[in-house]
């Protein structure tokens, strides 16, 4: 205010200057005034008069001057003036006054008390018309209010980020936009960013950083999740405010929820894209033609369906693209009809292509109209149904095949409904059962099924119906029309043709097989009986044999003993009366009788061996041979034998029986080589468990080999070599009882080798 203080008393010297001052006052719309208190005198400069719209020079009283103030402002100025006079306080007020022309305007009134000797003697001041400025401010304030309203209406959130205190302030809208739980947001930036969509957290932090560093505007969209878990799209803008050293102090900005707009835009975009996609990928080929049937437009599918990809068709005539249509008068007619306004639909129509293939089409042809209602051309919608048609054809063919197979099958076939009634029967089945087709169709399967096979069939069919088994399969009997029984093998499964379920049954006539089976069973039975019978016979033969043996031992011996006994008695009692010839006869009787007795003993021994069971155990053949050889050596005291016995030849056999075998073989070997010089007897095993006993004796002629193992068969005379002729027969019997084999190899005077095998299994 000091700067405004000036001395106006020296007017005489400052006349020119005063004029300039007046001009300045006018330009600045500032008036000067003075009020002397004693005597009361008011001075207004011209500009003050102008501000009050009072004619220049009109004498003004202090009261009058105050009366110009607006009733609202008057108490304020009166108070200020009073304070200035009495309390020496200056004032600077913006007040409203009502001009002489009743115009309300804003003025700035500045008043300063003039003090002399400690007393206020006058008031000096300025008067400035600030109405325009004030109105502008008023307008600004109005605009600000509007802005607030706009914020309110547009739901704009305002935020302020104080960087110094790292404090983020939100207005109410911000909270409404984000809709976060109250405790989440604690006014720190990290509280905020942490809560954003995870993909956007870094982006937002980066954007803030960039804006601060580059002094650019912060402008970003990001996503946040509200309390209900909905994703909200938010557009945020902000500007930083910097201090004099260019350090950012704070950033102020706005946020707007653009979720709905985005969704709307997305939707708009989607609708457009979907339409494009639809047109592009519609499964129906579409083509638009003009009146001359030249292509105006075609869908991708059209190109694809007609192998026109990479072909230019737009503008070309349909028949040039498909010359084959020219060979199809009905299509040409259809096109013409459509050009005449008709709509033609066809569910299926073959299109015979030039390459020989048939393309099956479903189509609709519509005319299209120009603005003036004329037919502009046609639109074709076509669907290639070739694949479906092929399937249909195949299906028809396979149905036909099935029908043919069904009717002509060599096997009986029937379709049977779930109640057991025949729906369809084939020729074979009719022939098999002796009924005509008509007769059979009037029957159900139960009627012609053998009563004993009904329950099995019903059970299995029920199980198939219940899904327990996938098919029935069993042998069953049907009654032929003539009453005879037909054996069949039945296989049946459940079929569903889409609407109804039924059984399809294959019925094979197995009567002959059954008869064969029956025969086989009977044959088996017969054989079993035969076996029993034969066993019985064998048992009785055995019994007979036993009784024969018994008889031999008794009845044969008894008379023999009489012969021998009395011959001896004769020899003793009549020795003196018999001459030498008589004595010789008696001697021969005695000798023959003894031999016969020995033969009987041997025979009985052989028979006894034959009846004995075989008990197998581990036998060391080498040891056995060694022991037998030692025993037998005593029986041939006149000869010294060399034994070559392979060590540890082991087998499983009946020890007692095998001992007899080896005794006989070794005894033979020793016996028949007793006349050899330095006889060597070998025992060993060749491959495959074949054992052998070899000697270097007299051997035998192989042509007699077949007699070798027979009872009482001798290849050498008893005079030459003693023996009964049952040794090898016994051996063979024992080997056979072991299910083994025995054979010999020899040649006269070259020794003999006896081979044998044994089945070691019990």
């Amino acid at each position: 205010m000091e700067s405004l203080s000036f001395n106006i008393s020296d007017l005489s010297t400052q006349r020119h200057l005063g004029h300039l001052f007046e001009k300045l006052q006018t330009m600045a719309k500032i008036g000067v005034w003075e009020v002397n208190l004693n005597p009361l005198e008011v001075f207004w400069s011209e500009e003050v008069y102008r501000i009050h719209q009072v004619p220049l020079g009109t004498p003004i009283l202090l009261e009058e001057g105050l009366n110009f103030y607006h009733p609202k402002s008057r108490p304020i100025i009166e108070k200020a003036v009073e304070l200035a006079i009495h309390e020496k306080e200056s004032y600077d007020l913006e007040l409203q006054l009502i001009t002489a022309k009743n115009v309300v305007k804003w003025v700035r009134a500045i008043g300063i008390p003039v003090i002399e000797n400690g007393k206020v003697i006058a008031l000096q001041g300025l008067f400035q018309d600030i109405d325009k400025q004030r109105t502008t401010e008023e307008a600004l304030r109005h605009i600000q209010d509007k802005f607030e309203l706009a914020i309110e209406a547009g739901e704009v959130g305002i935020w302020e980020w104080n960087l110094g205190e790292s404090n983020l302030q939100w207005n109410q809208h911000m909270h409404q936009i984000f809709d976060w739980p109250e405790d989440v947001f604690q006014n720190s930036l990290s509280d905020f960013t942490d809560r954003l969509h995870t993909d956007d957290q870094d982006r937002v932090a980066d954007a803030l950083q960039v804006a601060l560093e580059n002094k650019t505007k912060y402008d970003i969209s990001y996503r946040a999740v509200d309390q209900q878990g909905n994703i909200k799209n938010i557009m945020a803008k902000g500007t930083a405010i910097y201090d004099t050293e260019d350090n950012p102090v704070n950033m102020i900005g706005t946020c707007i929820d653009i979720t709905k707009q985005l969704a709307l835009e997305q939707e708009k975009h989607n609708v457009k894209t979907q339409l494009e996609i639809f047109i592009k990928h519609t499964p129906v080929a579409i083509a638009m033609f003009d009146q001359d049937l030249c292509y105006l437009q075609a869908s991708h599918r059209w190109y694809k369906d007609y192998q026109l990809v990479n072909t230019t068709i737009i503008g070309k005539k349909h028949y040039d693209i498909f010359p084959e249509i020219l060979q199809m008068p009905e299509w040409l007619a259809i096109h013409q009809r459509c050009l005449n306004g008709e709509v033609i639909k066809m569910e299926e129509d073959p299109f015979l292509r030039n390459n020989g293939q048939t393309q099956w089409l479903r189509y609709e042809i519509h005319p299209w109209y120009t603005e003036n209602g004329q037919v502009g051309g046609i639109i074709m919608f076509t669907e290639d149904i070739t694949f479906r048609k092929q399937i249909e054809i195949q299906l028809q063919q396979s149905e036909a095949k099935f029908k043919a197979a069904f009717n002509e099958a060599a096997i009986g076939m029937a379709l049977v409904d779930l109640q057991g009634r025949f729906i369809k029967v084939n020729h074979s089945l009719c022939r098999m059962l002796g009924y005509s087709r008509k007769e059979l169709l009037s029957l159900d399967f139960a009627t012609i099924t053998h009563v004993n096979d009904l329950s099995e069939g019903l059970t299995q069919f029920q199980e198939v119906k219940n899904g327990i088994r996938s098919k029935c399969e069993f042998d069953k009997r049907y009654y032929h029309k003539d009453g005879s029984i037909i054996w069949t093998h039945l296989v049946s499964s459940l079929v569903n043709d889409g609407s109804t379920s039924f059984f399809i049954a294959q019925i094979q006539d197995i009567t002959q097989r059954k008869h064969k089976e029956q025969e086989l069973i009977e044959l088996n039975k017969f054989l079993d009986e035969k076996v029993v019978q034969r066993t019985q016979e064998l048992l009785s033969v055995n019994e007979e044999l036993e009784s024969f043996n018994y008889s031999v031992s008794h009845d044969l011996r008894t008379p023999l003993r009489s012969i021998l006994g009395f011959a001896q008695a004769l020899e003793e009692d009549y020795d003196e009366t018999l001459d030498d010839i008589g004595k010789d006869f008696l001697h021969r009787i005695t000798k023959a009788s003894k031999r016969m007795s020995e033969l009987i003993d041997s025979l009985l021994y052989l028979s006894r061996i034959g009846r004995r069971g075989v008990i197998r155990e581990e036998v060391n053949l080498s040891e056995l041979v060694k022991n037998i050889a030692l025993d037998l050596q005593e029986a041939f005291p006149q000869q010294s034998y060399c034994y070559k016995i392979a060590p540890n030849v082991k087998t499983k056999a009946d020890l007692g029986l095998l001992k007899i075998v080896l005794e006989n073989l070794l005894d033979n070997a020793m016996k028949y080589s007793s006349k050899t010089h330095h006889p060597v007897i070998e025992f060993g095993e060749i491959a495959n468990k074949v054992y052998y006993v070899a000697d270097q004796g007299v051997g035998f002629d192989m042509s007699h080999a077949n007699k070798l193992f027979g009872a009482f068969q001798r290849l050498h005379s008893t005079q030459e070599f003693e023996g009964m002729g049952v040794g090898l027969a016994t051996v063979k019997r024992i080997i056979m009882k072991h299910r083994g084999k025995i054979w010999a190899e020899s040649s006269p005077n070259n020794g003999a080798t006896f081979y044998f095998t044994l089945d070691t299994q019990a």
Partner: protein, 149 residues
């Protein structure tokens, strides 16, 4: 002391003759009673009520006999349930194991197969006589309740 008889149950006359010859050769002088079958033999031994009426020094029993076999004779004697108190020697041609076993089971004291050779048979008779007639004291007839002949 009167020597008790030998009961020979044998159907074959040759055998009877040869047996007699053998006994004679061995100076066994006991009277020989010959029964031609098992039935006859039993009749010598047992009375109508099953009582033992005759106690020989030795019974020589053949097995293979008409009408009633030797095994049946043994079985019958056992069936009477009373001890015969006399050695029963089965003297037979059979060497059948079943016969041997059965004979012993039915109370035979000895089982001897008749040798083919007469010399051997005579020897056998000697042994039997020595063992059963000379060596062993016979069962007292008084105790057995039969008349001592």
């Amino acid at each position: 002391m009167v020597t008790r008889e030998i009961l020979l149950i044998e159907d074959n006359e040759d055998d009877v003759l040869l047996t007699k010859r053998a006994l004679k050769k061995q100076n066994i002088t006991n009277k020989l009673i010959v029964a031609k079958n098992g039935r006859e033999g039993l009749d010598y031994l047992l009375g109508k009520n099953g009582e033992l009426k005759f106690l020989p020094a030795l019974i020589l029993l053949d097995l293979n006999l008409p009408i009633m076999g030797g095994i049946d004779v043994l079985a019958a004697l056992q069936q009477y349930g009373k001890p015969v108190h006399c050695p029963i020697i089965v003297l037979t041609t059979s060497d059948n194991e079943k016969d041997i076993a059965l004979s012993y089971q039915l109370g035979a004291h000895s089982y001897v197969q008749k040798p083919m050779d007469l010399t051997q048979f005579i020897k056998l008779i000697e042994y039997l006589g020595t063992y059963w007639l000379a060596l062993n004291k016979p069962y007292p007839a008084a105790v057995a309740g039969v008349p001592d002949i």
